[in-house]
Symmetry: C5
Subunit: 96 residues, 5 copies
Amino acid sequence: MLIARVIGTTVSTVKDEKISGQKLLVVRQTDERGTAVGKPYVAIDTVGVGVGELVLTCAGSSARQTSQTKDCPVDAVIMAVIDTLEVDGEITFSKS
Amino acid sequence: MLIARVIGTTVSTVKDEKISGQKLLVVRQTDERGTAVGKPYVAIDTVGVGVGELVLTCAGSSARQTSQTKDCPVDAVIMAVIDTLEVDGEITFSKS
Amino acid sequence: MLIARVIGTTVSTVKDEKISGQKLLVVRQTDERGTAVGKPYVAIDTVGVGVGELVLTCAGSSARQTSQTKDCPVDAVIMAVIDTLEVDGEITFSKS
Amino acid sequence: MLIARVIGTTVSTVKDEKISGQKLLVVRQTDERGTAVGKPYVAIDTVGVGVGELVLTCAGSSARQTSQTKDCPVDAVIMAVIDTLEVDGEITFSKS
Amino acid sequence: MLIARVIGTTVSTVKDEKISGQKLLVVRQTDERGTAVGKPYVAIDTVGVGVGELVLTCAGSSARQTSQTKDCPVDAVIMAVIDTLEVDGEITFSKS
């Protein structure tokens, strides 16, 4: 899974019927401190997150293993909200 | 999913029979403003888009989850047209 | 799918029995003009191509969706020969 | 599989129910000497490792082939602890 | 498939039971001349190779399509030994 920050939202009227009603969030991978690295991508929200939160995204066929995304043409989902990250004995990110 | 712009078309006479009649579009990944980044790739159009539009593409086995691409040897599909992108509270892309 | 040029051939005597008799071609991803970018990789030919031709390659589990590669340990196939590419209103590649 | 070092831990309260109780470790890919390269990612621990250990991680649908991660929305698992790496006739990494 | 050179071996005592007894080789992707490019990764040997040989590796779910790796948590296998590579009319690699 990638550590990613939710940075925005996508509005799409014309889309595959299987993703109708699903929330398409714009995210960017971050490092262990929550600093953005790499290009933005879009993931389906399956846990109820807001813009600004740090999350985990899961890619590929594994993105279809949630009850919400089963058999859908989606290759990235948000499946966890990160509360804290601890790296090398240091809290590098804390949600509150 | 990747944010991508449709930049062109591919004509192919000799191809796997399963993709006969499918529209092969040339796309390039973009950032949240629709600015192209990275190399071009080819995706199957499943929603009816035109050159110039900003879309979402889905990769890997998930690209076979649309009714049109089921069991096909394709690893990228366009499954949504982007109307607007909002990032950090700003509309970074709008279709019209 | 990636746009790629067939640049060579691979001879392999010791290999998985499922790919016995299959043609292993060396390809390189190209841009929309057929100019090589990136590192060479090897793809199974399923449409009958020759060295020098511009093709589409399909990766991952989707590479096993042709009748020839079903259930085979292969992660890249050539599933289309490109006749022409048109990008931004210009013919950027033409086969003949 | 990638050679990776376990560098930290993730705490997540809100997450997909299928990964409830699973240990989410922060890892970084390393070279054959255990020197970190690339960005951090998160993998499910299926073999019982601690921070600092060198491990193998497996990605994609293969990450769901352990008894612990079957049908879970996870795309990276730790499925082996590395004792030693020998490259070009030299022991480049030893656990103890 | 990637062209890769076998550069070493991995010893792992604690690992998923499904890969017990399987040979874990360290490989690096090469170009068409056998010159290493990119980072090392680990692949399961399914054809009986030795350190120094040039091979093809197959990734993702396709890595589970050999009889030896079926249903295993592995995302890379060696499924062919390369005898010769010919690129642009020149033998760029020969095993003997």
